[in-house]
C-alpha cells in the first residue's frame, strides 16, 4: 500500500464524519457548506502536522545516516586502529645470538638459556603452602631448605631465588624440567620460572680481549668481536601480532600474524684455541718470571693476514667481566702504542734496499756515534764496531747504522715507506678501538733530522704490536702487506644459512720482492750472530730483537720484544713477543727471546713443518739463556 493510500485510510473517519455532517441538519442554523469548509480546514491542519512530523522523522533519519556514514567511512581507519590497540598486541620474538667458534670449530662463545625461579610470598602465604613450597623447591633446586625459607618467608610479593653464591639461581635443564612439572601439577602456588639468557665463554679467559663480552643490559656486545660484529651476532628480532585478553595474555584461538625472528650469525674466527692457549700460558709465565707489567703475543699467517693467536697479559674472564679492571678489557695488541725499538731496523733497511739507498753489502763506518740534527746518537751498548755492512748493522743492532740508512733514504721517502708498511694508519683489522699509531714530524730542520734518524731504529715513533706483526708479515710475504683479520667466516641464520668466508686482502706491495728476500736473508744471518737464542735446530729463522726505552730518564724501563717468522723462506707464521717493562732482565734478546723460541718450536711442530736446513749452524741447545724454554710453555 502506498503512503498516499495509508493516509487516506487514516483520514477515513474524518471523511465519514464530514459526509455524515454534510447532510442538512437543524442544529443552530449553520449551513452544511460552512461545516464543510471548517472540516476542510481541520483536514488541512492535520495534513500539515503530518508533513511536519514526516519531515522531522526524515531529518532525524538523515542525521543518523550521516553520523553513521561519518563513523563508518570517515573515521573507519582511526577507529579500527583504536580497536586494534585495545585488543591486539605485538610481542617481540627474541632472536638467538650467534655463537663464536675458533678455527677448528671449538665453541668460544655460546648463548645459553636457563630458568630462574621467582616467587610471590604473599600468594604462598595466602594459600598456607609455605612449608610445602619451601620443601619442594629445596628438593627441586638442590638448595638447603633453610636457604630457601630465608628467601621466601619474607614480606613482599616478589622474590627471585638466589644460589649459594648470592647470585640469581640459574637452573640446569633437568631441574627446570622438574619444577615445570611441579608447576603444571599445581604443586607450587605462587612460583614461576623466568628464562634468562646468558652469554657463556666455555674456555674461560681464553682470547678474552679478542672476543669481548655481552653486557647484561640489552645484551649488546662490548669490546672485541662481540662489539665489532654486534649486528651480525644479534640477528633480527621477530614480532607476533595477536589478540589478547583483558590481562594482556595472547589468545590461543585468535588469528595471529607473526614475523619470524632471524637468529644471529655464527662466526668462525681465525684464532686457533690451541695456539692461543700456548701463547697466553707462555706469556703469563714469562711476565711472571721477568716481573714485567704485561705483554702481548701475536701469531699471524703472513700469507693471508689471518691472526692465529692474540694474547695479552693482564687479561680478564668474560664470564665475570664486571669484576675486572676497566683497563684489562681493552685489547693492547691493537690499541696500545709503544716505541718498537730495534724491530724497526729490519723495516728501515728493507726500505733502504728497496729505495736503492743501500745494499746488503753497503759499508758503514760505525764510530759509535751518529750526529743527527746536531744531536749525537749512540749504540745501545755505547760501543763502536768500525766498518760494518748492513747485515752486521742488524746483527749488532746498531742504532747508528739504522739511523744512517734512514737519513740516506730521506724524510719524504722514509715516510712513504712507513706508510707502505702500515705505520701511522689503522691496519683495518676487524677489531674495535684500533689505534693508528703516532708519527710526528717536527717542523724544525734539526729536530726533523734527529727524528728521522731515531725513527730508523724505532724511537720517536708510536706503533701498535699488530702493526709490527703485519709489517714483518709483509717482509715474510715477498713484500706484500696483508690486512690482518680475525673473522674467518660468517654463517648466517645461526649457522643454518649461507656461509661467507673472509677473503685475504693484499693491502699493497710495501717493498719489492727482491728487497723482501734480501732482508729475510739478512735477518736469518743476523739471528745466528745476534744472540742465537731463538734458533731452532733444522729451521731457518728470520727474527729481530728490539728494546726501546720510553722514559729517557730511566733507561731500565723498557719494552722488550722479538719479531720474526719461520721457516724464513716459506713462512708459516709471524710471531711477535712483546713485554712491557720487564725487570729481572730488560732486553728483548734476554727477556722476550726465550718465549719466542719456545713458541716457535711448538708452532713448527704443531703445523708439522719439516726442517729446511742442515748443518752445524742449526744446532741449538735448549736453555742457552739460562731459562729452560720448556718451562715457558704449558
Amino acid at each position: 500500500m502506498s503512503r498516499r493510500g495509508s493516509l487516506l485510510t487514516a483520514l477515513t473517519p474524518l471523511r465519514a464524519r464530514a459526509r455524515s455532517s454534510s447532510r442538512p441538519t437543524w442544529d443552530g442554523g449553520r449551513s452544511w457548506r460552512e461545516r464543510e469548509r471548517s472540516e476542510q480546514a481541520t483536514l488541512r491542519q492535520a495534513r500539515g502536522r503530518q508533513a511536519v512530523l514526516f519531515l522531522l522523522l526524515a531529518g532525524v533519519l538523515a542525521a543518523l545516516l550521516g553520523r553513521t556514514a561519518y563513523w563508518q567511512l570517515g573515521q573507519r581507519v582511526a577507529l579500527a586502529a583504536r580497536a586494534d590497540a585495545q585488543h591486539l598486541r605485538a610481542f617481540a620474538i627474541r632472536a638467538g645470538r650467534g655463537a663464536i667458534y675458533d678455527a677448528n670449530g671449538r665453541p668460544l662463545a655460546v648463548s645459553v638459556t636457563q630458568d630462574s625461579v621467582i616467587a610471590d610470598p604473599d600468594v604462598i602465604r595466602s594459600v598456607k603452602a609455605m612449608d610445602t613450597v619451601v620443601a619442594a623447591l629445596a628438593t627441586l633446586t638442590g638448595l638447603p631448605q633453610a636457604r630457601v625459607r630465608a628467601q621466601l618467608d619474607v614480606p613482599g610479593a616478589y622474590v627471585r631465588l638466589r644460589g649459594a653464591d648470592g647470585k640469581t639461581l640459574l637452573l640446569q635443564q633437568a631441574r627446570s624440567d622438574g619444577i615445570r612439572a611441579a608447576l603444571a601439577g599445581g604443586d607450587l602456588p605462587g612460583v614461576a620460572l623466568i628464562p634468562v639468557v646468558t652469554r657463556v665463554y666455555p674456555a674461560g679467559d681464553l682470547a678474552a680481549q679478542t672476543l669481548g663480552f655481552v653486557s647484561l643490559n640489552g645484551g649488546a656486545g662490548q669490546y672485541g668481536v662481540e662489539q665489532r660484529e654486534q649486528r651480525l651476532l644479534a640477528g633480527t628480532p621477530g614480532q607476533l601480532y595477536t589478540a589478547v585478553d583483558a590481562a594482556g595474555n595472547p589468545l590461543a584461538t585468535a588469528p595471529q600474524r607473526s614475523t619470524p625472528a632471524v637468529p644471529g650469525a655464527d662466526l668462525t674466527l681465525t684464532l686457533d684455541a690451541t695456539v692461543q692457549y700456548w701463547a697466553e700460558q707462555g706469556l703469563a709465565r714469562t711476565v711472571a718470571q721477568t716481573g714485567a707489567g704485561g705483554g702481548t703475543v701475536i701469531v699471524l699467517d703472513p700469507r693471508s693476514g689471518a691472526i692465529r693467536a692474540l694474547a695479552n697479559v693482564p687479561s680478564f674472564d668474560p664470564n665475570a667481566y664486571a669484576r675486572s679492571p676497566l683497563a684489562t678489557l681493552q685489547n693492547p695488541a691493537v690499541s696500545a702504542v709503544y716505541d718498537p725499538g730495534s724491530l724497526m731496523k729490519a723495516v728501515t733497511i728493507a726500505s733502504g734496499i728497496d729505495a736503492g739507498a743501500v745494499e746488503p753489502g753497503t759499508l758503514f763506518d760505525d764510530t759509535g756515534t751518529l750526529v743527527a740534527g746536531g744531536t749525537p746518537i749512540h749504540n745501545w751498548d755505547l760501543s763502536a764496531h768500525g766498518m760494518v755492512n748492513m747485515t752486521q748493522v742488524l746483527q749488532f743492532s746498531l742504532n747508528t747504522g739504522a739511523g744512517w740508512v734512514a737519513t740516506q733514504i730521506g724524510r719524504e721517502r722514509f715516510d712513504r715507506y712507513l706508510a707502505a708498511f702500515g705505520f701511522g694508519a689503522k691496519t683495518g683489522v676487524d677489531l674495535p678501538d684500533e689505534s693508528p699509531g703516532i708519527i710526528n714530524v717536527p717542523q724544525a730542520a734539526d729536530e726533523a733530522a734527529l727524528q728521522l734518524a731515531e725513527n730508523g731504529f724505532g724511537e720517536g715513533i708510536g706503533v701498535t704490536p699488530l702493526q709490527v706483526a703485519a709489517a714483518y708479515g709483509a717482509l715474510a710475504n715477498g713484500g706484500v702487506l696483508m690486512r690482518p683479520y680475525v673473522v674467518a667466516s660468517v654463517a648466517a641464520d645461526g649457522g643454518a644459512g649461507a656461509v661467507t668466508r673472509t677473503q685475504p686482502v693484499a693491502v699493497r706491495q710495501a717493498v719489492s720482492q727482491p728487497a723482501a728476500r734480501s732482508i729475510t736473508q739478512m735477518l736469518v744471518s743476523s739471528a745466528y750472530v745476534e744472540t742465537g737464542m731463538y734458533l731452532l735446530p733444522g729451521y731457518s729463522i728470520a727474527a729481530k730483537t728490539g728494546t726501546s726505552t720510553p722514559d729517557p730518564a730511566d733507561p731500565t724501563v723498557t719494552y722488550a720484544s722479538v719479531a720474526g717468522y719461520a721457516p724464513a723462506y716459506d713462512p708459516r707464521f709471524v710471531l711477535l713477543v712483546k713485554l712491557d717493562h720487564p725487570r729481572t732482565t730488560i732486553y728483548g734478546a734476554t727477556a722476550a727471546a726465550p718465549l719466542w723460541r719456545a713458541l716457535a718450536a711448538q708452532l713448527l711442530t704443531y703445523y708439522q713443518v719439516p726442517p729446511d736446513r742442515t748443518g752445524q749452524g742449526n744446532v741449538q741447545t735448549a736453555g742457552q739463556s739460562g731459562q729452560d724454554p720448556n718451562k715457558l710453555l704449558p
Binding site: 635443564q173 666455555p202 584461538t253 713448527l604 720448556n630
Partner: protein, 126 residues
Amino acid sequence: MDTPDPTLDSPDGPGDWRMRALAALRRPLALAIFGVAMIGLIALLYLHQVAALAAANDRLATLRAEQARLERQDADQRARLGAVTSPAYVDERARALGLVPAPLGSALIVSINQATLSALRDGGQP
C-alpha cells in the same frame, strides 16, 4: 472450487516428496523446527572448528615448547663441548692422568712423498 494438484495427490508421482516437504515448510511449526535445526547444525560446525583450532594451537604450543627445550639443550651441549675441548681443560686432564709436555725438539717432522708413504703403509721398505 480448486482442482487438486495431481502430483500432490498421487503418492507415486514424480517430485511427490519434494512437494510435500515444501508444503510442510509452509507451515509455521515446521519452519521453526527447521530453523532451529539449521542454527544448531551451524553452531555445531562452528564449535567443531573452534575446538579443532584450539587443539591445533595447543599442539603448536607444545611443539614450540619442545623446540625451545631442544634449542636450550643444544646450547647447553655446545657450551659443555666448548668447556671440555678447551685447551685449558685438556691440559688439566692430561696432567691429572700423569702426562707431561714433550720437550722442545722431541718431535722429528719429516717430509715424504706419496710413493714412500704407500710403501710404508704396505709394510715394505721405502
